[in-house]
Amino acid sequence: MELLYFARIRENIGHSSETLPQPGNVSDVKDLIGHLREQGDNYKAAFENELAIRVAINQTHVNFDHPVDDGDEIAFFPPMTGG
């Protein structure tokens, strides 16, 4: 899976993208967030507050219970503040 990070989440983590083979115990967005939180303090900070996280799979907004697939592009970002 291709992971993308934007804005505060990108800054917390320290990079804007990475490729990750789908972990065996990860079947939805919530699982993936749980997995990422274990990857270090930078990830822990990035994903600490679930209310401040938005997810898009293949550029479409999804909820945390949406399944993830190894071929997906999964983007994490804070609530949007454009306009």
Binding site: F6, A7, Q59, F77, P78, P79, M80, T81, G82, G83
Partner: protein
């Protein structure tokens, strides 16, 4: 409707002209321009930087415009959103709506702006004398967006 996500500035008059040239069926043009303000609450803004998600930004703007075109009798329009570093006084976003009737043009422009604020992947970072910080999303923007769901 024309959608553009770009770092360079835009020219309202040129955009209106491009949409309206040679047309005689348009009764109303509404434009909204969003600008960088030098104050946000008590913080004096030195610069603002807009980050965006390339590809998804255009996609979301196109979706919002398609919903607006479905809901109001529009004759055209455009949305231009900038990204990158911007100084106070600079233009951020332009929405133009054309219709035979003023009410449709007004409502559609306001609708597009309200949705864009909560649904288009752009993030503002402000630079003040105290340092930089990400702008928090506003509950009021989410509320404004909800009013259109009725």
């Amino acid at each position: 409707m024309k959608i553009q996500v770009q770092s360079q500035n835009f020219d309202i008059a040129a955009e209106i002209n491009e949409l309206c040239v040679g047309r005689k069926d348009i009764g109303a043009i509404v434009t909204f321009t969003g600008l960088v303000r030098d104050f946000n609450g008590d913080n004096k803004i030195q610069q603002m930087t807009l980050e965006h998600f390339p590809g998804m930004a255009e996609k979301q703007l196109a979706t919002i415009c398609a919903i607006a075109c479905d809901r109001w009798p529009l004759q055209g329009g455009c949305v231009i959103h900038r990204y990158g570093p911007l100084s106070p006084g600079e233009q951020i976003v332009l929405v133009i709506t054309l219709s035979a009737h003023r009410e449709a043009a007004f409502e559609a422009a306001e609708f597009i702006m309200d949705w864009l604020k909560t649904d288009a992947p752009f993030w503002k970072k402000e630079q003040t004398a105290k340092g930089t910080h990400w702008v928090e999303s506003k509950t009021s923007d989410t509320e404004k967006c909800k009013k259109w769901r009725k």
